[in-house]
């Protein structure tokens, strides 16, 4: 077993209720849920790979393909919807030439939607990596993207 995974497992008990925290940790480590890690988790927690996929595919957080260098998440919560969040998403889809949920071919950006970032008072809101940008406009956003390589 790769050492990274072993280190992860050491932090969690061998109980089925640890599945989601382990998956979260794996994703933090590798950027996504790798097929190998699913095998190892299955053996460690003694639950089937099927079951692991069943659980992980239910939640929006987990992804099964390698992420790009930066994640762009457009909030499409109610406040952002009412204030034009969808326009921002459309603009990104056009500018990056991918649809929501995809990664650009040069692996520079992932584009995702998110249900609400809790900054609704400053809507519309876009998150790039860990930073949240508020009161976004098409122009500001397009400028902002240039800062990310």
């Amino acid at each position: 077993m790769p050492e990274v995974i072993e280190v992860i497992f050491e932090k969690y008990q061998r109980k089925p209720d640890q599945l989601i925290p382990i998956l979260q940790n794996v994703q933090r480590e590798f950027g996504y849920i790798t097929p190998e890690s699913v095998k190892h988790i299955s053996r460690y927690l003694r639950i089937s790979e099927n079951q692991i996929f069943g659980v992980s595919s239910f939640y929006a957080q987990f992804r099964f393909t390698a992420p790009g260098r930066h994640s762009v998440r457009v909030c499409l919560g109610t406040a952002c919807h009412v204030r034009g969040g969808a326009t921002l998403l459309e603009m990104l889809e056009r500018e990056l030439e991918i649809v929501c949920g995809e990664t650009t071919p040069d692996r520079r950006f992932d584009l995702e939607r998110v249900a609400c970032l809790g900054c609704c008072a400053l809507s519309p809101v876009v998150q790039i990596d860990a930073d949240i940008y508020s009161r976004m406009t098409v122009n500001k956003l397009s400028e902002l993207l240039k800062q990310y390589e």
Partner: protein, 626 residues
Amino acid sequence: MNKLKKKITSAKKKWEGIENNKEPIVYIGAASCGRAAGALELISETEKFIKENNISARVIQVGCIGPCYLEPLVDIKMPGQPRVSYSNVNVRTLNNILKSQLLEGVPFTKAAIGNFGSSAFNGIPPFYELPMLKPQVRIVLRNCGLIDPEDIDQYLAMEGYQGLMNALEMSPEDVIGVVRQAGIRGRGGAGFPTFKKWTVCRNTPGEQKYLICNADEGDPGAFMNRSLIESDTHAVLEGMMIAGYAIGASKGIVYIRAEYPLAIERLKTAIKQMKEYGLLGKNILGSTFNFDITIKEGAGAFVCGEETALIASIEGKRGMPRSRPPFPAISGLFGCPTIINNVETLGTLPNILRNGAEWYNRFGKEGNRGTKTFSLVGKIRRTGLIEVQLGTTLREIIFDIGGGVQKPFKAIQTGGPSGGCLSEEFLDLAVDYESLASAGSIMGSGGLIIMDEDTCVVDVAKYFLDFTQKESCGKCIPCRVGTRHMVEILERITHGEGVPEDLLTLRTLGDTIKKGSLCGLGQTAPNPVLTTLRYFRNEYLEHIKDGLCRAVVCKDLIEYRVIKEKCTGCQSCVKACPTGAISGPRSEPHNLDKTKCIKCRSCYEICRFEAIAGDAIVIRTAEKRS
């Protein structure tokens, strides 16, 4: 308990030192919303300024005080002066503010909005007299924006953990008695009396019981729970301990969504501090009470806010709700008696146990005691987080506190995806559980979304239904298939392809889904559609019969154009247009090439000349046809 009392004494001294500061203090609101508005940059700029000018001053990070539309907020307290609050601060104004206050000792009045003294100071009005703050009653939010949430001593200085100490001196039954007398109802949505749920759990035999704090806050457009955790972390944790003691639980779990990293970080810090202060673990404060708190991060599923789904999720399963009974209070997490309470419910408990039930009874009205926090967002002047007594009218909230709407008011959506849209005629409705329900909406967790004439209610109904349809766990058919069918009909209507019968179909479907669904998600999902059908029927009919979207939202029904007389040729729309559909030399009215226009609305949103933005660059299809 004596150890903690000593700590409190020293915490209070420390706080007095802050209050009677000898050196200037700069407070910066750095909750997620403040950060999104640029607070972190202000913090480093301030620190740089202090160093460069070689002065001694302190920077304290505080949480969110509420008027998020003014963010980022910076407060400065000079020795012997009241704390002055500055709004919408950017790096440039920050430097002016710091120069004026820290170096010259006078407030920079141009950017100041309020002071925390009791009267005006240098022409700056008292903060709590501001129109947005004055009508509010702050119980849960009492510390938000005032203290550093990462410093347990500041919480202790604010009488923190006094409620817990009082509780531990009573029997658990007496604690439940106080909560019963206080009359608080669950703030997570349904408004079920808190003491009732607790009593069932308390009376159920079981070695192990659990207390779960529901910090999932899945409602898009709502952020009360996030703000409270980020701004007064210990209050929520103290509430968990009080609840845990009352029901006989030894384990507490915070179930919080992963989209709130700062809140999670602050919870971790606070839990560590509690352990250091002997507030967690065995025999807490010398009592027989044992309690520990752990954090479980959600993984992104709206339905996991529902109690039974939340439990499944903690158990490591798909977050599917199950039918009740048995209720979690009898058989919940791992089959043990479990109480799930909302963040705000828990955050209120320390106040009730500190001040007593009678005190709490002074707020709100019969049957709806106390206060409720709301996130006030959408097309309203003053957006943010507010707290008012139950029974306050929508009009007071929207106009007195929120400052009204820039364009004519159209609707208010309460209760998130499970709630309803209310029209102007409901403005005098008192906000309490029963009144909202009688109007076809619900209190929900407290998201209030204001809509003006630029919002299309059919589009909003479609938005919510699309949301619930995507978030449906799929276990039961009415919810899974029914909502999809409703979305399809709404799609057609917004494309101008609706037929009059659609309205009846929507209603019948809605009623069936409400009756036939397994959990609260499906049981409430049709509400946004049903209420808009009831109160905004005309707008549906306009879409169907005239192909008209009066709010200029539904793309297939609108077309954009430049109003030549109003265009100043400022070129901002030329720059904003992603497809190059708008062109024209500077200072001359621009041209819009309809064949290139993708109706993204960017030009409409960006045009600064209200004249243009106002009556729109739009010809309605109906006009065009004739």
